[in-house]
């Protein structure tokens, strides 16, 4: 490793290098389109979002400095000496900032709307994946068998406890906190308005009596539009024996209508792009 590599890595960390600015912008745009295209919440790209938020913060400072300097020149000197391009530059910078902020805002709101729709699904997923023996994980089989008869259950008790959870994927830490608070409020409301009148064993929100789970997740079998970005990418489907069967082969530059579960892994690797 020579000094250039070290400098380059420092550059990357600060999010200052100009090439990575352009690529990050393209990645953010692509992620936004993908998030809008499917019904599941996609893995939160934490490093990318941190870099983007840093840049937005820096850009706002730049714009404020520029605006302040234009106000100074207006006060101190006459109109003709003041840089004629300043207003143009300011308006370009502000338009660019507003465009980026729009993408970020739309992305976050889309994720929130998916989270509120399938809040229980994501909570159960988070709680069950963290195999911590101390934290009670109300997995689906447990809840089905026997509810503890001693205390009167309220719907809030069926909200999984995620205080021990350290791995938030696919959510961000804030989204995780939000979805837990949301579900607790919702459970309290259900309990107060109608579920309190039910027999205690019917008050769980993750009931799956009769083999039908009440927790609704996103539809993994929905159709999506993808563009293939590598030479050949196969559509992969789950085979009958739990293995993988190959479906049609997509070629570079092709646009296909396929099932989301068939291209999900290829999307994770960046080999296809959602449209």
């Amino acid at each position: 490793m020579d000094i250039d590599d070290i400098l380059a890595s420092v550059d990357r960390g600060a999010g200052a290098s100009t090439e990575s600015t352009a690529i990050d912008h393209q990645l953010l745009t692509r992620f936004w389109v993908a998030e809008r295209a499917v019904s599941e919440v996609l893995p939160w790209p934490a490093p990318l979002m941190e870099r983007m938020m840093d840049r937005v913060r820096l850009q706002i400072e730049t714009i404020e400095d520029l605006a302040a300097s234009s106000a100074d020149t207006d006060l101190s000197t006459k109109q003709h000496t003041h840089n004629p391009n300043l207003n143009l530059r300011l308006s370009i910078l502000q338009t660019d900032l507003a465009r980026t902020q729009y993408i970020i805002r739309s992305l976050l709101r889309q994720r929130l709307s998916k989270l509120t729709k399938h809040s229980m699904h994501y909570l159960v997923k988070l709680a069950s994946r963290n195999k911590n023996p101390l934290s009670q994980t109300p997995s689906q089989s447990q809840s089905q068998s026997q509810p503890p008869p001693s205390q009167a259950l309220s719907p809030e008790d069926s909200v999984p406890d995620i205080s021990q959870v350290t791995d938030y994927a696919p959510l961000s830490a804030q989204e995780c906190a939000f979805v837990h608070a949301h579900q607790t409020l919702l459970a309290g409301h259900y309990g107060g308005s109608f579920m309190g009148a039910f027999p205690p064993q019917l008050r769980r929100l993750d009931d799956n009596a009769g083999g039908t789970s009440m927790v609704q997740g996103p539809d993994m079998k929905e159709v999506v539009f993808v563009r293939c970005l590598k030479y050949e990418v196969p559509v992969v489907v789950e085979g009958v024996d739990g293995g993988e069967d190959l479906g049609v082969i997509m070629r570079m530059g092709d646009v296909w209508v396929v099932l989301w579960e068939g291209v999900r892994n290829a999307w994770m690797k960046g080999e296809v792009e959602l449209l």
């Binding site: 009958v240 024996d241 479906g247 570079m252």
Partner: protein, 270 residues
């Protein structure tokens, strides 16, 4: 509640994406380079040409600070050529004309070496393959070789209409272009509709329907309809698919049980 738009990118958002396409301009005034969040913008020095995102080019054009040089494909001759391919050519009776190639992909018309995607690297060290709207498909010097057949870029409807609206004085024969764009749209729309009966293939696992060459706005228009049709076909075919799977699983179970059942239960969660 948190978000009013339905799933899938909306037409206004498609137009927003199209504004990220790079176009070529001739500036009328100087402007120092800018560091934007979308990437750096080169300094403008007339009469040197520059490549800018479409939104910035339109902003400068409206203030009469620049002229836009129309994209290579947005001229009457290439458009009528594409129209001819779309409507007359045997190979494209039921398909769209081929899109402009991605980087590393040879064009459809000159079978070259095997395409190898040229990745860039993200700051996280992962591979990244650029795609529209971040490829120079709408710049004026995009022409690669003289014998190249022109192709419609992904955002052709949006870029074409925006340039016709805001910069028609920079285009060659805007009325003719408008007419050609309209004809192209109609030809391609009828192909899109005619293709509905093959959608059954997309409803089965592992299958799919190719729409190569489709435009962003055309996709946006048909998205709701196509996904609705395929979803319903899938529901109709679900019991058949289920029966087939069960039959296969049964055959396998009779052949010998080797603990695959646990695996299958894991998949049931999804």
């Amino acid at each position: 509640m948190a978000f009013p738009f339905p799933q899938g990118i909306a037409p206004s958002e498609i137009a927003f994406l199209a504004e990220m396409e790079m176009v070529t301009i001739v500036p009328r005034q100087r402007l120092e380079g800018l560091e934007l969040l979308g990437g750096p913008v080169e300094p403008l020095a007339p009469p040197r040409r520059a490549s800018l995102p479409l939104w910035l080019a339109l902003l400068l054009k409206r203030q009469r600070r620049a002229n836009i040089i129309p994209p290579t494909w947005l001229h009457p001759e290439p458009l009528s050529l594409i129209l001819e391919v779309e409507s007359q050519h045997q190979d494209y009776k039921h398909a769209f004309s081929p899109p402009p190639p991605l980087p590393g992909q040879p064009s459809m018309h000159e079978p070259g070496p095997e395409p190898t995607a040229r990745p860039q690297y993200t700051p996280d060290g992962e591979k990244y393959f650029a795609a529209p709207p971040f490829l120079p498909h709408n710049t004026a010097q995009a022409r690669t070789s003289s014998g190249e057949v022109p192709a419609l870029p992904y955002h052709w409807i949006e870029v074409g209409n925006m340039l016709l609206d805001a910069a028609s004085d920079d285009l060659m024969d805007p009325d003719q272009i408008r007419r050609l764009l309209k004809d192209l749209r109609e030809v391609r729309m009828s192909k899109m509709r005619a293709g509905v009966d093959v959608l059954d293939a997309a409803a089965t696992g592992g299958g799919g329907v190719a729409l190569t060459g489709v435009g962003a706005m055309e996709l946006g228009e048909e998205r709701g309809f196509l996904t609705g049709v395929v979803d319903n076909l899938r529901k109709i075919g679900a019991s058949k698919e289920q029966a087939r799977r069960e039959q296969l699983a049964e055959q396998r179970a009779n052949g010998g049980y080797n603990g695959t059942q646990d695996e299958e239960e894991d998949y049931m969660e999804f």
